[in-house]
Amino acid sequence: MSDRGYPEAVADEFPVPPTEFTDREGRTVEVRPYEDTEEGYEALVEMYDAFDPADRAQGIPPGGEERIREWLDAILGDDCYNVIAWCGDEVAGHATLVPDDDAYELAIFVHQEYQRAGIGTHLIRGLLGHGQAEGIRKVWLTVERWNRAAVSLYKKIGFETSDAESFELEMGLRLNADGEDAG
């Protein structure tokens, strides 16, 4: 599926992680690219294992530790880009870019205890800053049409709807102009 639509204009520059901020609950949160350490991996598994099933979207994150590990192994590969929002040594949120043909698919997850505190916005901007610095050109995502909080976040970031034909909206964003760098 390489016939996805993207905005003609390149998005603004996003901040390149690591970045640090105080969330609306007064917690210090640090956004960093995923470091492939055992502690980091296990902390991520722990967040998804405690993830509220009501916050699942389109089948992810999967339920059960075994399937979570399988899924993480697939999206933490060398060809993917991952950014974590840390609150101390706890994972508050995770955002990922997974390659698909000539573009990258984006997904973002914030643990229920850390939602509605502004973390998602910092996290997605951090991921896009990371991807932009790495030369990624195009990013797409799908989101359930009724998920208005998510849709408005993506719009605010600069995503434009490319397909509204079914239950899920498809949205696209251009991070770098064609011909710049690789990716």
């Binding site: 979207a57 089948g59 997974v98 997904a107 799908t142 079914s166 899920e168």
Partner: protein
């Protein structure tokens, strides 16, 4: 049961075909496979028909495989109504590299408009 399995050439539609054929053999369902024109699929309809026919034959079933032209969703619903099918079976959605499932416009139309039960095969 009189079952209509709609396939358009996507990976999930072939999974639905295999599972429906398997089940029909066990449950002695009266199965019809409708090959529809899915604009998102790059597989040639004749090839899909062949694949469906060999799946049916391998299972030792006496099921009809039919090429259905026109708008896939509405044609499937119409077929089910005019020919008295009791269930429509479709693929359970496309899985992205990320693992996200998206349900296409054909399945959405059938889900919302069919009078019969609709099964999406995962």
């Amino acid at each position: 049961m009189k079952v209509l399995c709609g396939i358009g050439g996507s990976d999930d539609s072939f999974r639905a075909l295999d599972r429906t054929v398997e089940r029909a053999a066990v449950a002695d369902d009266d199965l019809t496979v409708a090959v529809v024109e899915n604009p998102d699929s790059s597989v040639d309809p004749d090839e899909i028909v062949q694949r469906a026919e060999s799946a049916v034959e391998e299972a030792g079933l006496d099921a009809e495989v039919r090429l259905v032209e026109g708008d896939p969703g509405s044609r499937l619903v119409e077929l089910a109504e005019t020919e008295g099918f009791e269930e429509i079976v479709l693929g359970g959605g496309h899985t992205s590299p990320m693992g996200k499932i998206t349900i296409g416009s054909i399945a959405e139309f059938v889900l919302l408009n069919a009078k019969t039960s609709v099964t999406l095969v995962r």
